[in-house]
C-alpha cells in the first residue's frame, strides 16, 4: 500500500478551540493529515494531545463549546461547513467511526439488531426487515458467537469485546470509504485487543476502506499502520512511514514516546533473604443469585492459589479482567473473607479479626488502579499522605506528621510545597505518586499494587515504574504487582503468576515465563501483548 494515491479524506490546517469560563483553550492548532483508499494511518499521542478532538471536529461531534476551523475535505465537500442535513448523509454512510468506550457507545435501551439496522434504514433506504437480515450477516462477519440470539440481545448482555465487534459491524454496515477508529481497543483485554485488530485488518483488506486509527499504543501502530502522525499539544510534530518513524525518529518527542516502553528487568534478591509472605490454597467465593426459589450458586473468584514471597521480591500477577487477580490481592491482605492460609512474617493472618489486623496494617499496604477515584477530593495532599500516621503513630505531633508527609512526598519526587493543594489540581501521574507516598509514609513491608500504571500514559507509566523500582531498592519492599500489562510486569517482577478464571495457569521466574511459556493461554497473552524483541529478551 502506498501513501501517494489521492487522499479520500483530507484535513488541512484544522484547528479546534474550546470556550471555557477561564478563556479559550486551543486543543488542535492547525494540523494537516490525509488518508488514501486502502491505507491505514495512525495518529499517536498522549492524552490531551488533541488526537481525538481532531477527529471529533472532522465528524462534527465537538462538544457545544467547541469550534473547528480549517478544511476537512471528503469527495469535494468541506465537512466543517456542510449543513447538518447534508453532513448526516455522509456520517454513518461514507465516513464511520468506532469509539474508545465499547461499554457505553451503544444505547443500553435498544437491542443490538435495532441499533445495527438503524443506519442502514436511514442511509441505505432498507426496510427494517431487510436491515435486520443484513445486520445478522454483519454479526457473522465480525465473528459474534451465536449471532441469531445475539441480534436480539441488549448491550448489557454482551462483553466489552463483543460490543466493540458490534460497533465495527455498525461501522461497516453501509460499506464506508473512511473508518475512524478512536482507541478502539484501549478498554479491552490484550487477547480481545489482538482479535479486534486482526478483524479490522482482515475487513480492511477485503473492503478496501481507508482507516484512521487513533491510539497511544505504539505496539499497535507498529503492527497495523502504513503511516504515522505523532501529535503533541495540538500539533503534528512528526509524520511519515511507520518503518521510518520507528527506526529513525526525528523529533525528540517521538523518540521519547518510543523510549517510554518499559524496559529492563529486576535484579534477583539474595538467596538468604527471609520469607515474608506465604499463601496456601487461598480461595474466595461469591454467592450469586441467592433468590427465594433459586439454589445458591457459588462463583469461585479465586480458586486455591498458593505462592511464596521473600523479602524484596516482586510477584507479578497477570490475567485478563475477571481472572480474579484483584480479588486475590485483597484476599491476601485479609480485606475479604477468604479460605486458605496466609502467613505474613511468621504470623498467620488469614481469618484474623480487625483488631488483630490493625497493628499489622501499616506493614501491608495497597495502591489502587484509579488515581482519580482513590484520593479523597476534600482533603489536602498533606492530609491524605499523613492520614495513616494518625492511626498507626498517634503519638506524633502535627508538626512531626507534616514533616513525615514532606519526606514521603520528596521520596516520590513531588515538591512538598504542594502538600496544601487538593488532588484535583494534579495530573493522573502525580496523583498516583501521591497514592504511593501515602503508603510509603508508613514504611510498609509489603505493598499490593493493583494495576497502578494502567490508567496512565506510557511516558508517565515509565516514570512510575522507575519510581517503584527505586523505592523497592531503597526500602527492601516486597511487591505484589497486579497487572494486565505484560510489558510492565516483565520490567518489574521476579516471578510471574498467570491467572485465568480464578486459577493459576502457570507460574515461574519472569524470564522463563516470557521466553518459554508452557501453557497455550500464556503464549496467547504474550503474543497479544506485542512486546518488542528487546522487551522479550531483557535481562537484569
Amino acid at each position: 500500500m502506498t501513501s501517494t494515491n489521492a487522499p479520500v479524506l483530507d484535513i488541512q490546517n484544522l484547528t479546534v478551540d474550546f470556550d471555557t469560563p477561564t478563556g479559550t483553550i486551543a486543543a488542535v492548532r492547525g494540523v494537516d493529515m490525509h488518508v488514501g483508499a486502502g491505507e491505514t494511518v495512525a495518529i499517536v499521542g498522549e492524552s490531551g494531545s488533541g488526537k481525538s478532538q481532531a477527529m471529533m471536529a472532522a465528524m462534527g461531534l465537538l462538544a457545544a463549546n467547541g469550534r473547528a476551523g480549517g478544511r476537512v475535505t471528503y469527495d469535494g465537500a468541506d465537512l466543517l461547513n456542510l449543513p447538518l442535513a447534508k453532513l448526516n448523509t455522509l456520517r454513518g454512510r461514507k465516513i464511520t467511526m468506532i469509539f474508545q468506550e465499547p461499554m457505553t457507545s451503544l444505547d443500553p435501551l435498544y437491542t443490538i439488531g435495532r441499533q445495527l439496522a438503524e443506519p442502514m434504514v436511514v442511509h441505505g433506504g432498507l426496510s427494517w426487515k431487510a436491515a435486520k437480515t443484513r445486520a445478522l450477516e454483519l454479526l457473522k462477519l465480525v465473528n459474534i458467537p451465536d449471532p441469531d440470539r445475539k441480534i436480539k440481545a441488549y448491550p448489557y448482555e454482551m462483553s466489552g469485546g463483543q460490543r466493540q465487534r458490534v460497533m465495527i459491524a455498525m461501522a461497516l454496515a453501509n460499506d464506508p470509504d473512511v473508518l475512524i477508529a478512536d482507541e478502539p481497543t484501549t478498554a479491552l483485554d490484550v487477547t480481545t485487543q489482538a482479535q479486534i485488530l486482526q478483524l479490522l485488518a482482515d475487513l480492511q483488506k477485503r473492503l478496501g476502506m481507508a482507516v484512521m486509527f487513533i491510539t497511544h499504543d505504539l505496539g499497535i501502530v507498529r503492527r497495523i499502520a502504513d503511516r504515522v502522525y505523532v501529535m503533541k499539544s495540538g500539533d503534528v510534530v512528526e509524520s511519515g512511514e511507520t518503518d521510518r518513524i520507528f527506526t529513525s525518529p526525528e523529533h525528540p518527542y517521538t523518540r521519547m514516546l518510543l523510549d517510554a516502553e518499559p524496559t529492563g528487568a529486576k535484579p534477583p534478591v539474595p538467596a538468604a533473604s527471609p520469607p515474608l509472605l506465604e499463601a496456601q490454597k487461598v480461595g474466595v467465593a461469591f454467592s450469586v443469585d441467592a433468590g427465594l426459589f433459586k439454589p445458591r450458586h457459588e462463583l469461585k473468584a479465586v480458586d486455591g492459589v498458593s505462592f511464596a514471597l521473600r523479602r524484596g521480591q516482586t510477584l507479578g500477577i497477570v490475567g485478563e479482567s475477571g481472572s480474579g487477580k484483584s480479588t486475590l490481592g485483597r484476599a491476601v491482605l485479609n480485606l475479604l473473607p477468604a479460605t486458605g492460609r496466609v502467613v505474613y512474617n511468621g504470623d498467620v493472618i488469614s481469618g484474623k479479626s480487625r483488631a488483630h489486623m490493625q497493628a499489622l496494617r501499616r506493614h501491608l499496604q495497597l495502591v489502587f488502579q484509579d488515581p482519580f477515584g482513590s484520593l479523597s477530593p476534600r482533603l489536602t495532599v498533606g492530609q491524605i499522605v499523613s492520614e495513616g500516621l494518625l492511626v498507626h503513630e498517634p503519638q506524633l505531633s502535627a508538626a512531626d506528621r507534616d514533616a513525615r508527609a514532606c519526606q514521603a512526598l520528596e521520596e516520590v519526587a513531588l515538591d512538598p510545597a504542594m502538600r496544601n493543594r487538593y488532588p484535583h489540581e494534579f495530573s493522573g501521574g502525580q496523583r498516583q505518586r501521591i497514592a504511593i507516598a501515602r503508603t510509603m509514609v508508613l514504611k510498609p513491608d509489603l505493598v499490593v499494587l493493583d494495576e497502578p500504571t494502567s490508567a496512565l500514559d506510557r511516558t508517565i507509566q515509565k516514570q512510575i515504574v522507575e519510581l517503584l523500582r527505586d523505592l523497592q531498592a531503597a526500602h527492601e519492599l516486597t511487591y505484589l504487582f497486579i497487572s494486565h500489562d505484560l510489558a510492565v510486569v516483565r520490567a518489574l517482577a521476579d516471578t510471574v503468576m498467570v491467572m485465568k478464571q480464578g486459577k493459576v495457569i502457570e507460574a515461574g521466574p519472569t524470564d522463563v515465563i516470557f521466553q518459554s511459556p508452557r501453557d497455550d493461554y500464556t503464549r496467547e497473552l504474550i503474543g497479544a501483548a506485542m512486546l518488542t524483541q528487546s522487551q522479550m529478551m531483557a535481562t537484569g
Binding site: M59, G60, L61, A63, A64, L84, L87, N88, T89, L90, R91, G92, R93, T96, M97, F99, E101, T104, S105, L106, D107, P108, L109, Y110, T111, E118, P119, V122, H123, Y154, Y156, M167, M170
Partner: protein, 307 residues
C-alpha cells in the same frame, strides 16, 4: 411478570393493615369526638348515638369491627354526613378528583417534558434561562396564590372562564383548576427533564447516534429522551398519587366536589370513618402508583427485570 405484580399486590396488604391500625388509634387519641358540638347534646341522645355507631364499646372491639368491615371494602357510615356512607361519598367525589388529577398530570408531562427538552437542547442560552426561571417561579408560588390570580384575570376581568363550580365536568369549568394543579408539576417535570436530558445528550451512545448520521429527531427523541425520561417517571409515581387523590386548596377555591375536601372536613369534625377512608384511599393510590412506576421502568429500560 404477572407473578411479580401479584406478589407486589399481596405485599401491599400488610402495609395497608399497618396504616389502618396506626391511623385508627391516632385519630382516637385526638381529643373530642364526632358528636361533641359547641352546645352539648342531651345525655340520652348522646348515649343513643354512641350505641348506634358502636362508640360505647371498648376501643379494641371497635378496631376489630372496623378491620372486619374494611376487609369487606365497607368503610362504614359517615359520622358527620349522617345520611351517607363513606363508600357513597367516595363514589361521588373520587372520580371527579381523579379526572382533575389525571388531566393535570398529562398536561404536566407533555408541557413540562417539552419545555425541559427544549431547555436542554439550548443549554445556557436565553431560552434555557427563561424556561428555568419560569420553572423556579412555578415551584415557588403556592397554588392558593395562583388560583385567585387566575380566577381574577380570566374569570372576573376577562370573563372568559367560569370562576368556580364543577358543572358536571364541563370543559370550561375544568380549565382553571387543572392549570392551577398542573403549574407546579410542569415546573418540576421541566427541571427534571432538562437535567437528565443534558446528561443524556452528552452520553456516548448519543454521540454514536450523531456520528451515524441519524436525524435530530431520532437522536433526541429515540436515543436521548427514552433514557432521560426515567427520573421523571420515578418522580411522577408519588406525584400522581398526590394529584389523583385531590387537592384541598384547589377544590375549595373552585368549589369542586372532589375527595380532597374530606381530608380536612373529616379531621376537623372527628368524622372517624371519613378520615380512615381517605387514609386508606391515599395509601392504596400510593402503593398502586409505585407499582405502575416500577412496571413502566421495566418497560422503558430492558436492564430492569422482574422475574
Amino acid at each position: 411478570m404477572t407473578r411479580y405484580v401479584l406478589g407486589r399486590l399481596l405485599g401491599a396488604i400488610p402495609t395497608i393493615f399497618l396504616i389502618v391500625t396506626i391511623s385508627f388509634f391516632l385519630i382516637r387519641i385526638a381529643p373530642g369526638g364526632p358528636f361533641d358540638l359547641e352546645r352539648p347534646l342531651e345525655a340520652k341522645v348522646m348515649e343513643n348515638l354512641n350505641k348506634i355507631y358502636h362508640l360505647d364499646e371498648p376501643l379494641w372491639q371497635q378496631y376489630l369491627l372496623y378491620l372486619k368491615s374494611v376487609a369487606q371494602l365497607d368503610f362504614g357510615p359517615s359520622f358527620y354526613f349522617r345520611d351517607f356512607t363513606i363508600n357513597e361519598l367516595f363514589a361521588q367525589s373520587l372520580p371527579i378528583s381523579i379526572q382533575l388529577g389525571l388531566t393535570a398530570l398529562c398536561l404536566a408531562l407533555v408541557v413540562g417534558g417539552t419545555l425541559g427538552v427544549v431547555a436542554a437542547l439550548r443549554q445556557n442560552q436565553p431560552t434555557d434561562y427563561t424556561v428555568m426561571a419560569a420553572a423556579t417561579l412555578g415551584v415557588t408560588i403556592p397554588n392558593f396564590v395562583v388560583a385567585p390570580i387566575l380566577t381574577l384575570v380570566l374569570g372576573v376581568w376577562l370573563g372568559w372562564l367560569p370562576v368556580g363550580g364543577w358543572n358536571g365536568g364541563a370543559f370550561v369549568n375544568v380549565i382553571l383548576p387543572v392549570v392551577t394543579l398542573a403549574l407546579p408539576q410542569i415546573a418540576v417535570v421541566a427541571r427534571l427533564t432538562r437535567g437528565s436530558m443534558i446528561e443524556a445528550l452528552r452520553s456516548n451512545h448519543v454521540r454514536t447516534a450523531r456520528a451515524y448520521g441519524l436525524s435530530t429527531y431520532m437522536v433526541v427523541v429515540v436515543h436521548a429522551l427514552r433514557g432521560a425520561i426515567l427520573p421523571v417517571v420515578s418522580y411522577l409515581g408519588p406525584a400522581a398519587a398526590a394529584l389523583l387523590t385531590g387537592s384541598v386548596v384547589v377544590e375549595t377555591i373552585f368549589g369542586i366536589p372532589g375527595i380532597g375536601r374530606y381530608f380536612v372536613q373529616g379531621a376537623l369534625n372527628r368524622d372517624y370513618t371519613l378520615v380512615m377512608g381517605t387514609v386508606v384511599v391515599v395509601a392504596c393510590f400510593v402503593i398502586l402508583f409505585n407499582l405502575i412506576v416500577d412496571l413502566l421502568y421495566a418497560l422503558l429500560d430492558p436492564r430492569v427485570r422482574y422475574d
